[in-house]
């Protein structure tokens, strides 16, 4: 028998093993996570809407199915935190906005539907920045979840509740979305493993849009193995998402133990190091040494085009967001978070010519990235420039450089949004004040399994991903 607290500290793979072998029942698992959420939610503010009753019904159903011999796989009976921009049938989806406070979808997003088919269920809708348009986690309407490692620090965003809740053990895995880093930033700040898949690999149908040429759906987990388990469920062509791309079915867990001997990992020598916290940098190079110990070949690469990324991302995301939310900003601006309103309005000032210049530069940048991957297998950088800043910080000193918090959080993650490549964020240690540090490993398009394999190899020789916050 496993205690309730033990269950909430396990990974999906471990929970799945216990459920499959009947050492733990889905109802016990659900009750353990519900009890932990009951105890910690008042302190953390992870959820916008909890779905306790529905979760317990789903857990009972999973228990009955498994008892009848219909075991569906490692997600069967697993509670999932669902970012509140995913449609959930019959459960309100606010998108972090007052405007949609009472919107109740009549069907599930594809991602949620696929999780349900795999036997998983939503335990609640997690906090998000309004329309997922900020990397800090702030939300004027529903509040900002607390970072479970230090309650006075921001959890990162925009998938703030998914990050804080997974790290705190309110659920073992969650759904996030990543337009400029919104899966990887809270993963980094909360000590999680999160993957932004290749653009088009996972369906955005039923997910509130922000910037259609960047938006990506993916899991936030406690290990690379868990991220692979979830990606097995989430990946796959969906005709309801115009950005969805057909690709061969891949088992993302199959090659996880393949190791990384002989793989070449490129580390850009430009851009990333202009704004970097010394402890984040030291942990990154220690991680590179760990990967070399495993047989990887770490080498510096030159990518001066990385300097283009902030301009390309700013031009395109603001215009696309203004296209999506322009009417709302013009007609109901007073109902929006004023900082989100300003960001949407900023897109009104960018000309079509500038947008197209950015789009052409983006193609050029992607070609340069693809060329770089001609001589390396993977690329690695710190995920973010610094550990979680104080919850109210607007500017921070990062390695002696005065930087806006938003820029410090976004500058490294959006490299892989602009290039649409898969990138896995994972913990690499802790700062002297107890905050998680993180790196990201990226791979060529549709080589998501390779990035996960490298992350898994790293997690076989380190224990950072196993650390749990004391709350």
């Amino acid at each position: 028998m496993t205690s309730s607290q033990d269950l909430t500290s396990l990974t999906v793979a471990e929970l799945g093993d216990r459920i499959r072998s009947k050492q733990a029942s889905p109802v016990e698992v659900a009750q353990a996570f519900v009890a932990r959420a009951d105890a910690l939610e008042p302190k953390l503010g992870v959820f916008v809407t909890r779905s306790t009753e529905q979760a317990l019904v789903a857990a009972k159903q999973a228990e009955a199915e498994i008892a009848a011999g219909d075991y569906k796989g490692p997600m069967h009976g697993i509670p999932v935190g669902v970012k509140d921009i995913y449609w959930t049938k019959g459960v309100r989806t606010t998108s972090g906005s007052k405007v949609y406070a009472n919107f109740v979808p009549n069907r599930d997003s594809t991602a949620v539907a696929r999780l349900r088919e795999a036997g998983a269920y939503s335990i609640g809708k997690t906090g998000t920045v309004e329309f997922a348009f900020d990397p800090t986690g702030r939300n004027a309407h529903y509040g900002m979840p607390k970072n479970p490692w230090r309650l006075d620090c921001m959890p990162g965003g925009s998938s703030s509740g998914s990050g804080a809740g997974t790290a705190a053990g309110l659920f073992p895995i969650s759904l996030g979305t990543d337009t400029g880093g919104s899966i990887r930033i809270p993963s980094a700040l909360c000590g999680l493993t999160g993957i932004k898949p290749t653009f088009g690999l996972t369906s955005r149908f039923g997910v509130t849009p922000l910037s259609w040429s960047f938006d990506t759906v993916g899991p936030m987990a406690r290990s690379a193995e868990d991220a692979a388990i979830a990606l097995n469920v989430l990946a796959g062509y969906d005709p309801e998402d115009p950005g969805s791309i057909y690709s061969e079915k891949v088992d993302y867990t199959k090659g996880l133990d393949g190791g990384i001997r002989g793989l070449r990992i490129g580390v850009p020598k430009e851009y990333v190091w202009d704004v970097i916290d010394p402890e984040m940098e030291a942990a990154f190079w220690k991680a590179m040494a760990d990967l070399e110990e495993l047989g990887a070949i770490v080498e510096e690469i030159s990518l001066p085009e990385l300097d283009w990324v902030p301009a390309i991302a700013a031009a395109m995301t603001t215009v696309e967001a203004a296209t999506v939310y322009g009417d709302l900003a013009r007609n109901r601006g007073e109902d929006l978070d004023s900082s989100v309103l300003r960001r949407v309005q900023s897109g009104f000032f960018v000309s079509a010519e500038t947008y197209m210049q950015a789009a052409r530069a983006r193609v050029l940048f992607s070609r340069r990235m693809n060329a770089a991957f001609g001589s390396i297998d993977l690329m690695a950088t710190p995920t973010v420039a610094m550990p979680a800043p104080p919850h109210n910080a607007e500017r921070v000193l990062v390695g002696g450089v005065d930087t806006a918090v938003r820029e410090a959080l976004l500058r490294d993650t959006r490299v892989f949004n602009v290039s649409r490549l898969p990138a896995v964020a994972m913990p690499t240690g802790f700062s002297s004040n107890g905050l998680p540090l993180s790196m990201q490993i990226a791979a060529p398009a549709f080589k998501d399994a390779l990035a996960l394999r490298a992350a898994h190899a790293y997690q076989q020789v380190t224990a950072w991903h196993r650390a749990r916050p004391v709350i």
Binding site: W308, R330, S338, Q345, F349, T354, A361, R362, V363, S366
Partner: protein, 64 residues
């Protein structure tokens, strides 16, 4: 990039439909000014090897 006066920005904002009280517009002006500074770097990128028609999202999501 030269600083935009409050009056000039207010006129620009009105022309594109960006509304708000004076404090909001002042913050928006700072944000837009900062963004325009960043976007100016785009003019330094020689994109001539990418035809405009290759710059849109391809159906297969790939990069031309």
């Amino acid at each position: 990039m030269p600083e935009i006066s409050n009056e000039a920005f207010a006129a620009w904002a009105e022309s594109v439909g960006a509304k708000g009280d004076q404090a909001h517009l002042e913050q928006l002006r700072d944000e837009v000014q900062g963004m325009m500074g960043r976007l100016a770097h785009l003019d330094d990128i020689d994109v001539s090897e990418v035809a405009p028609e290759d710059a849109s999202l391809r159906h297969d999501g790939g990069v031309a």
